[in-house]
């Protein structure tokens, strides 16, 4: 992710938060408000992660084709991409043989991550970051 892309992403996040804030003004339902607050927190968290990754771990850019080589088979490392960041799961105990509960390494697993871990970013915290995904 380079500088322009980061600024586009951040603007996108700002727009999302702004929209959510407007939604907050238009509802009185406490459950709906809680949901919106959660969404806002998630967006803020995402920006924090993006900034942290940008400053700390700007290492390598992967295309999807490059990433697909790192699927954990035949002694290859196992890499996965979540929210545009590429993580190394080769030595993560829950990723035996580059597979994890039906998911296979070497691709963009953002949708699976959202489905199973409900956007719980703490699951990714201890994984080493090796680069970013080129869209």
């Amino acid at each position: 992710m380079d500088k322009e892309e980061l600024s586009v992403e951040l603007k996108e996040c700002y727009k999302n938060i702004f929209n959510l804030k407007n939604m907050l003004n238009f509802t009185q339902c406490p459950i709906k408000r809680m949901q919106i607050e959660d969404e806002i927190l998630f967006e803020i968290n995402k920006t924090l992660y993006m900034l942290e990754d940008y400053t700390k771990y700007r290492q390598r850019e992967f295309t999807i084709e490059e990433l697909s080589k790192y699927d954990g088979s035949l002694g290859n490392p196992a890499y996965i991409a979540v929210y545009g960041i590429v993580y190394d799961v080769s030595n993560s105990p829950v990723w035996g043989g580059g597979t994890h509960f039906g998911a296979t390494a070497g691709g963009d697993l953002t949708s699976q991550f959202e489905k199973c871990h409900k956007r719980d970013l703490s699951k990714l915290k201890n994984l080493p970051i090796v680069g970013t995904l080129k869209v």
């Binding site: 954990g72 088979s73 035949l74 002694g75 030595n91 105990p93 829950v94 035996g96 043989g97 580059g98 597979t99 509960f101 039906g102």
Partner: protein, 292 residues
Amino acid sequence: MNKFENCPMIDSKSQTAMTLINQSIDYIKQNNVPKLNLIWLEATGCSGNIISLLNGENPGLYFLLKEMVNLKYDNSLSPYQGERAFEEFLEALNTEFILVVEGAISLKDGGLYSVFARYKGKIITTAKAVRMAADKAKYILAVGTCSSFGGISSASPNPSESISTFDYLNDKTVIRIPGCPAHPDWVTGTIAHLISFGMPLLDEKNRPLMFYSLTVHDGCTRRSFFNKGIFAQKLGDAECMFKLGCRGPVTKADCPIRKWNQYVNYPIGDNTPCIGCAQDNFPDGMEPFVRY
């Protein structure tokens, strides 16, 4: 000298079920408690768990049946057949009993894919029989992965629309004893605990903590290879099989310490990666079993 002789941990582990059984027998004799009845129902599955139980040692099946429980009904071991067997089952329902269910519950077409009995011209589905027994049971055990989590019976594409016994009896407290099949010690040990001390300590998935507290990875004989990062390249190598798709780190069971077939060996000791048979998501979430 036997190389295991000096390790008290291994000795105690292989004797857990026997210790519990002896305690419950003492309890029965001292307090003059009548032996509890046991009803073992086979639902949609392969009957593997009852076969596994027949292979039990410390204690063996004979010991279990003679000293601990009255096996009132079992699909495979029942001496009766046809309507007589079903009447035996109905009679047993009027006593105090432990219910053991193995296999998932098939729900498609009203459960017709798993028929329990034909009684007076009517078809009794397994789902109905399990519900009848569960309403009167003192304790309910879901033995085997199909019964505990759905397992192979409810694997994709699930043509019989099976669900686990645990989900089917969601209004009852059901103890899960997963495993494909469940180790005989896990079953007899839990039954012994129920007789002498009541409900055992359970984890968040209702598995008895005494058998399912550690992962296979925690007690693995090849754990030091994993810690050093030395991995097997192919099946048959002596190192850690994590890179070949071993599911030990996500599977809770005491296989490495207890071992199978009368405490002889377990999959990793025989150069096969753990396939996670005692965990939920098996088999769909555990595939591929071996990856090169």
